[in-house]
Symmetry: C2
Subunit: 597 residues, 2 copies
């Protein structure tokens, strides 16, 4: 049976020591997040995840969700009670404005908790996760009446939320969507159409589900400029907040998926369902993008989370399993064989995962902190810089953390050999669950296009220039420090590759957009490598300082320095290949006739 | 629903045009494989695979195998009839010596057919596949009585075969195995112990199953030098070949696996089962290695096969699915959107798979041909060279084709977006099925160690030197040909990287074996890149010649040249990173204390 221990200590090290979160306690929300509060919250979250959610992961996968009829889907045994505990613990409301029932703490904390939840039970975590996403869109775009009617109940976990975008003939290209909204004359709309792949679309965890649905108001323009967003409750809600009649939305079927079996992925049929416009008419995509960015960060965390839990189980196995002898001489002469962690290739495998996870966690938390800082700061320049950074890094986080996170679950599975392929050890579930994160909330190829086609050129490349300056500045400040050399020199080299790639796009992508498209995926991963290396350089700096301060953490800080060095020596060199691929351009791939594929 | 079309034309192109198989029709076995015979056999195999085996793939996955009781396991609906058709078609006997009921055709043809079978239905293909492996070991190591008793019935598919190595506490490290064999006094042995992960271990396809079982004769030395191989029939066989009483081997359970659900992976309990020594006592590993090498080549073909079928379905989807508009201008103005094959990143994804598959197929067939040539040639030098080459390339084929083959199923799945994650399109099954190939018959980390630790240094590096000479010679012969430049220059560069890596091991791996272990996995993949590039260079040479001969195949030959160029530009540059990783050595990874993982 797989196990999980939340990396509380690593989160604390990052927030306190590396990113020094206490520098921001002059900002609202941060002020409440005192060191004690942070530690207490992470500790409680760890307990919930380790003791309540993780034990339901394997059983939830085996049991799956069952559609009883078009209005009833049952979740796996224990999910209902777990959701109650989750809701009552106030976890959905952690970052929500107290005006709507939340605790108003930094999103950074919520993101840290999300990692624990998604490691412990990814399928479960999607129920509150989608609720948070819907809540975020509601609080940004809803009118006061809508917010008062729906938000507090979602915050307390009495009602869940969903997002409804995809239709059978359109996923990525939302401009094609057909679901229609006809004004009912009373300010509401009648929504009719079919949505597919709706996560948490129907279930038995809450008495109501608030669907946010993209639809086209009768007579609206074609394409993306005629799409609006609607609030469509599963059960109609009276003006006083009490429940009315069931609405015209039903579950047509549950998808049979590769993984996340504990989450009900539904076909939802809307047949004149009562809906309420959220935000402006025909500006639905804008409203939805609030959810999307929230969701994309959340999905990137899922990639990290599955990588982490898979790593933990593989490392435990490698220390326990006796097989073969060390090639540099017997290590456990009293036993029939050495534990397999003595073998270099097992260590390589594990270190590739570990070196990724620790830097990815740093990047996630640093991104969340900058988002919080931007959100709460009075300084317009700080807010604008945060927005630039978020726009740039979101597709990188989503694409890279889910791609590599998935690869890492496969690597971890490999450590267990045949035992990794059978169900009881739980490793193959991590692979199946992690796989979806590369697809949903915009497939990773779309993230790459968003990065290269939209985020790079935006405002004359301001965001990427700022990022380069930040990295260059950090490198310059630390390059003369001898102990930092193993981290700074490789970072500078890889950042140089990213700069060359960016320049190449400027010179070759404008006139011939296929060149940008052809290199976009490699660029996204090149960016990820540089961002992770930058995190490792910062972690190394902190580790060196803490180590020389000699406060009894030397062994742990040495482990950080070794893991970071592994990243620089073994993983970062990939940047040169990414650059070579990008600069090879689009000509060859575009010249193959479609019928020759 | 997924579909499959066997790549008969590509196999014919490789055998006839690229490798000119007719050069060898002076050798036995090859003499019977006239061009007409080859074409007819591949055509018949394609028909069987497309019409009988492939339609059972998705249903076989959903239904799985069911253990009725300890002596009865039922396979999915249709498997029994399909196996009958397979057996009656003489497919098991294709390469088997006519003396034992086979057709005596080159293994090369059987390997080509194996690819089709493993694409159409990998789980099904393992039943005859394991039978072939057991048969191979029996024919090499069995005495005449054993061969006459068991081989013809296995050849005609009346009985199946298995291989029994793994036990709960040992897989890779067979020296630890505990299953014991006690002489019964009548020349037979009583076998007692537990074997796990036994593919095709119990089923309803045939009236008998011939298990080949590794066990330790009472009093034998410990470790691998005390292991013997035994023939243990599921049902005892009388001297006249008729069936006797059930033997003492039962199925304890069926594993719940990630994939290949159509194959019954069993725990087999041996309780004093009657067994017959196969080959010499205490030399069981040697005898088993005949099966292992056979099986490793077969497993590498599974990697290619899953990559091929996944590619075909992804390419078909990409040409059909309308979503978004080409960034270089609308391509299908009469439709609501362009087919997604217009997007560069979709093409990149598909071409990465296609460029691998076509070269991997070439490498498999070329390897099989050299094996056949070595086997049938009277020239000792030719035979020895073939053996050297096979020893060297087998771990590379097994490790690289299954690693990359799996990655390719994931890439192909990605092309379908959300539709790739749900069961009905079949893409997620390819991923789950392909995953096992990286693990069984020696996990890929073990292949890498076998390559670097055993195959490289063998006979003073004779095999690798010969390989380098062959590649260098080919490059030299073709480097002045202008049209070959895009293929030869990159091949030379990558081969240089492989030579540098080899040299680095010689200088740094002898004194410090951890350096060899730490770089072994990257070395295996570096070798694979060079071998595949060498295949592409040969394919390109043939394509250029065929194209200028102007016999109406120009478009197809151009497609080969473009695909090969893509490999050289986009995939081969990875060789430099592999080299960088190898030469970074073992120090960093070995310095992390085990408890810091």
């Amino acid at each position: 049976m797989p196990s999980y221990k939340a990396p509380v200590e690593d989160v604390l090290f990052l927030l306190r020591d590396v990113f020094q979160i206490d520098r921001y306690n002059n900002l609202p929300s941060f002020a409440d997040a005192t060191p004690d509060v942070i530690e207490a919250i992470l500790g409680e979250a760890a307990k919930l995840c380790e003791e309540v959610l993780q034990p339901l992961n394997l059983s939830g996968d085996r049991e799956g969700c069952v559609r009883q009829d078009e209005r009833h889907v049952t979740t796996p045994k224990g999910f209902k009670e777990a959701f109650k505990a989750y809701a009552e613990g106030g976890w959905i409301g952690l970052p929500v404005d107290p005006e709507y029932g939340g605790q108003g703490l930094p999103h950074t904390l919520a993101i840290a908790v999300n990692e624990f939840v998604a490691s412990a039970n990814m399928a479960f975590g999607m129920y509150p996760g989608l609720t948070s996403g819907a809540l975020a869109a509601l609080l940004v775009h809803g009118n006061e009446e809508q917010k008062q009617l729906f938000a507090p109940k979602m915050t307390e976990g009495r009602w869940c939320g969903t997002m409804n975008l995809t239709e059978p003939h359109c996923g990525t290209d939302l401009g094609l969507l057909k679901t229609k909204a006809v004004p009912s004359g009373d300010g509401s709309y009648a929504i009719t159409g079919q949505k597919i792949f709706i996560s948490a679309g129907e279930h038995d965890l809450t008495e109501n589900i608030i669907h946010l649905v993209l639809a086209r108001i009768e007579g609206a323009p074609t394409g993306v400029k005629g799409i609006s967003l609607f609030i469509v409750p599963k059960v109609n809600v009276n003006a006083d907040g009490s429940l009315g009649e069931p609405n015209g939305v039903t579950c047509g079927s549950i998808e049979h998926k590769m993984g996340i079996h504990g989450n009900s992925t539904c076909v939802l049929n809307y047949d004149g369902a009562k809906g309420y416009l959220l935000g402006e008419a025909n500006r639905g995509l804008n409203a939805m993008f609030v959810m999307m960015n929230h969701a994309r960060l959340g999905v990137s965390v899922q990639g990290l989370a599955q990588s982490e839990v898979a790593y933990q189980n593989a490392a435990a196995y490698a220390k326990d399993r006796l097989q073969g002898r060390s090639i540099s001489g017997v290590k456990s002469p009293d036993k029939a064989a050495d534990p397999i962690i003595v073998h270099p290739d097992i260590r390589r495998n594990l270190l590739e995962i570990k070196a990724f996870n620790e830097a990815a966690r740093a990047l996630v938390l640093w991104t969340a902190m900058r988002s919080d800082i931007g959100h709460h700061s009075d300084d317009l320049k700080t807010s604008a810089a945060a927005e630039d950074y978020l726009g740039l890094i979101t597709p990188v986080l989503k694409g890279v953390l889910t791609d590599v996170g998935f690869d890492n679950t496969v690597k971890a599975q490999q450590v267990l050999g045949g035992h990794g392929y059978v169900g009881e050890w739980g490793m193959e579930q991590f692979v199946r669950d992690a796989r979806i994160a590369m697809i949903y909330e915009g497939a990773n190829g779309i993230q790459a296009l968003d990065l290269v086609g939209r985020k790079l050129p935006k405002d004359g490349g301001r965001a990427i220039m700022t990022f380069f300056n930040e990295v260059t500045q950090f490198a310059k400040e630390n390059e003369s420090d001898e102990s930092m050399k193993p981290y700074i020199a490789p970072l500078q080299k890889a950042a140089g590759h990213l700069q060359q790639a960016t320049m190449w796009f400027m010179q070759n992508g404008m006139g011939k957009p296929d060149n940008a498209g052809a290199g976009s995926y490699d660029y996204m991963h090149l960016f990820g490598l540089v961002a992770l290396a930058y995190m490792w350089a910062q972690i190394a700096k902190t580790a060196i300082a803490k180590k020389s301060a000699g406060n009894g953490v030397a062994e742990k800080m040495d482990a950080k320095l070794t893991t970071g060095k592994f990243f620089m020596e073994r993983m970062l060199p990939e940047s040169s290949v990414r650059l070579a691929r990008i600069t090879s351009g689009a000509d060859t791939m575009m010249s193959l006739p479609a019928d020759m594929f």
